[in-house]
């Protein structure tokens, strides 16, 4: 098979001593920063981005793959040992994981999370290898109308499907599009929203936007409500699992992978829905349903696998279509763009070596992660006790450094502060951050595709419907927008009783709660009523 040959070639490139070193540094830094409380995967990736400035493309992408998986693994360690995670994708892990840790089974929880992440990450990356060429083959024949439709789909998905408030999601999206508008119009060279400031004519650097929204906004928000005293962390030894734990874990790992990958791969991704679905599935299938809510290992194994599988799935639309659907993917696009690389179907043709080296380094990163994190877990656990003033002062330190290094302009720090204030407001008023960053990144690209579609048709808007895929996508969007409110209205009219839980109807409908800064839904609200029911 052709892509297997290419993958082998990718391994050949990634397995040089230097590149392995980059992968190792990436995994270590990603995990270390990701473990720190208050720092989610997106912030990890954004904060560590400047480190890759000096590397060549291949080296930096390899390091990035390590940071990507490391940051996610770090997040699950935090949620198991600390509870109430800041990042959405590990909320479900915390439900059972923290209970296990409190019951003295933290080592097993960390082990099933680490091994499950490895299994799911490897299988899902394998699925990426199989699926990506097919998507590319289809995508290469797509014209501007289809791309435009797919982008509209991504916009609708990130702003209305996940969040509890569509108005706030859409407002976030439009704010993001506004940020993307700043600068000279790509086609006509007309200045838009630059207010006569020449430093704005090149647009706002995506790194600055990401660091501002994720690091500054989060640090300011936490500073305003800083919990006094450090929350109790649970000391833990080297992770290990007994025979019984293996027996109870392997099926949830596989099921989590199967649930997670497709959800990541459709451009409506995010790890929240699959982790939640995996949790519900494991609870239903478990032989020990009574343990759920008290530390059931299946409740850690399944969601963690789903989380990692969906993270690998996210790379399908990212690499083949250039569509970021999670905050982390959005920051990765920024990393690509720095080297003048624009992910999309053409990337597989113009830079096959690069793409397949990246995919190979995902496998390597995953393996390194497992090999390192089992022995290093007690060390990571110590990181959780870092005094909070130093932690958040350090975040501000590195955030300003990253923004400055993005263009060697102090002006960037001012923009950083302004957008950081926006990030603070978003957290205060329940506006999801994901649509802001996706809008800012995809906005200019969407305008380009729209323009191209209309140019071909000499301005006839009917051209937007001229490709079959576009029509399908718009139909799905309409269903997305129309069906849930109709269901809600029907439920309200015909009363409750439609669901298995005893929560109020809004709780069932609102199963995915509010969006957090990672752009992800918070599931805790939906899970709580059913726990009460036990």
């Amino acid at each position: 098979m052709d892509n297997l040959t290419l993958l082998m070639e990718g391994f050949g490139n990634a397995l040089t001593l230097q590149n392995l070193l980059f992968a190792l540094i990436g995994v270590l830094l990603g995990t270390a920063v990701g473990v720190l409380p208050g720092i989610g995967p997106a912030m990890t990736v954004a904060l560590l981005l400047p480190l890759t400035y000096a590397l060549d493309v291949t080296g930096s992408l390899i390091m990035f793959a390590g940071i990507y998986y490391g940051g996610m693994y770090g997040g699950s360690t935090t949620s198991i040992l600390l509870n109430t995670p800041g990042e959405s994708s590990s909320v479900v892990t915390a439900l059972e994981g923290n209970k296990m840790a409190k019951a003295g089974r933290g080592a097993q929880a960390l082990a099933t999370a680490a091994i499950g992440s490895f299994v799911a990450g490897t299988l899902a990356t394998g699925a990426l290898v199989l699926v990506a060429p097919f998507v590319v083959a289809v995508a290469i024949g797509l014209g501007a109308p289809s791309y435009f439709a797919l982008m509209v789909f991504a916009f609708v998905a990130v702003s209305t499907v996940l969040g509890s408030s569509r108005i706030r999601g859409l407002a976030s999206l439009f704010i993001g599009l506004t940020i993307g508008l700043v600068g000279l119009d790509a086609t006509t060279g007309q200045a838009r929203l630059t207010f006569g400031q020449p430093l704005l004519s090149g647009g706002i650097d995506v790194v600055v936007i990401a660091v501002a929204l994720f690091a500054i906004g989060e640090a300011l928000w936490i500073a305003a409500h800083l919990r006094h005293g450090t929350p109790a962390t649970i000391p833990v030894g080297v992770p290990w699992m007994g025979k019984d734990d293996w027996k109870r874990s392997w099926k949830p790992w596989l099921r989590g992978t199967v649930i997670g990958f497709p959800f990541g791969a459709i451009p409506a991704g995010g790890a929240e829905i699959p982790t939640f679905l995996s949790y519900v599935a494991e609870k239903k299938l478990s032989k020990h349903p009574e343990q759920f809510g008290h530390g059931a290992i299946e409740g850690v194994a399944g969601p963690e696998a789903a989380n990692n599988a969906s993270a690998a799935g996210t790379l399908v639309p990212l690499l083949t279509l250039g569509l970021p659907t999670t905050a982390t993917a959005a920051v990765m696009i920024a990393a690509f763009n720095q080297y003048g690389i624009h992910p999309g179907p053409l990337l597989f043709q113009t830079e096959p070596v690069l793409v397949w080296t990246l995919i190979a380094s995902l496998f390597i990163g995953n393996t390194l992660l497992l090999a390192l994190n089992l022995p290093l877990a007690p060390l990571w656990a110590k990181l959780l006790r870092i005094p909070r003033p130093y932690l958040y002062a350090g975040i501000l330190f590195f955030a300003t450094l990253g923004a400055y290094a993005a263009g060697m302009q102090t002006f960037n720090i001012l923009i950083l502060l302004l957008l950081g204030a926006l990030g603070y407001m978003a957290r205060r008023f329940g506006f999801p951050v994901l649509p802001i960053i996706v809008g800012a990144i995809l906005g200019p690209e969407m305008e380009r595709q729209l323009r191209r579609a209309l140019q071909i048709s000499a301005g006839d808007p009917a051209a937007l419907l001229s490709e079959p895929l576009a029509v399908v996508v718009y139909t799905v969007i309409v269903l997305f927008l129309v069906v849930p409110p109709v269901i809600k209205a029907l439920r309200q009219r015909f009363g409750r009783g439609a669901g298995p839980t005893d929560g109020p109807p809004e709780d069932q409908f609102d199963a995915f709660g509010t969006q957090t800064s990672d752009g992800s839904a918070r599931v805790i609200r939906a899970v709580r009523p059913s726990r009460r029911g036990n």
Binding site: G86, A171, T188, Q190, A393, G430, Q455, A458
Partner: protein
């Protein structure tokens, strides 16, 4: 003026508080509207040149965004007035039962602003060490010496890490020639 009963007073205060709480989100709606107007004005000022006369000029997308933001502002205002409210974000180190501590937030914002304005003069090492020190103190650190030492080590370490490790020269400012 007759003194109202305590009951009515607390009821009144409660209602006022409820209204004020809602009003802060009305402010967000107003901000969205202001952004929409800024975009609209900016778009109206784009010069019409021959190159703009193509199929889709540079005004189309900003106009759509301005309309979209305006509609969001109206919808948000209506939703807030009808009793909808946002849920603030929770997290590991966040205690939402406390009210926002504004001196810390504005202090940190001010520090970043001062850092941005003085960085070229002071240089990265002095500026960012002070940024770290000031932030740590604002965030409640009481180890006055330690925080400064950590800040200096972090700044010097990063400076040399960037110069030697990554080949990126950060401004040395006042310490030019010393570092």
């Amino acid at each position: 003026m007759t003194a109202p009963t305590t009951d009515a007073q607390s009821g009144l205060r409660g209602r006022l508080q409820a209204r004020l709480h809602g009003r802060s989100e009305l402010g967000v709606a107003a901000l969205l509207a202001v952004i929409a107007i800024v975009i609209a004005v900016d778009t109206a000022n784009i010069r019409h040149t021959a190159i703009n006369a193509g199929v889709m000029g540079p005004q189309v997308v900003p106009t759509i965004i301005a309309i979209g933001l305006g509609l969001c502002a109206i919808a948000l205002a209506i939703s807030v007035l009808r009793g909808g409210h946002a849920e603030a974000e929770d997290g590991e180190d966040i205690d939402l039962s406390q009210k926002a501590h504004w001196p810390t937030v504005f202090g940190l914002g001010g520090l970043i602003l001062v850092f941005a304005l003085t960085m070229d003069f002071l240089g990265f090492v002095i500026g960012s060490a002070l940024l770290f020190y000031g932030s740590a103190l604002l965030l409640g650190s009481r180890r006055f010496v330690w925080a400064l030492v950590i800040g200096i080590l972090l700044a010097v370490g990063t400076f040399y890490g960037f110069v030697l490790g990554l080949g990126i020269n950060l401004p040395a400012g006042l310490l030019t020639g010393i570092l």
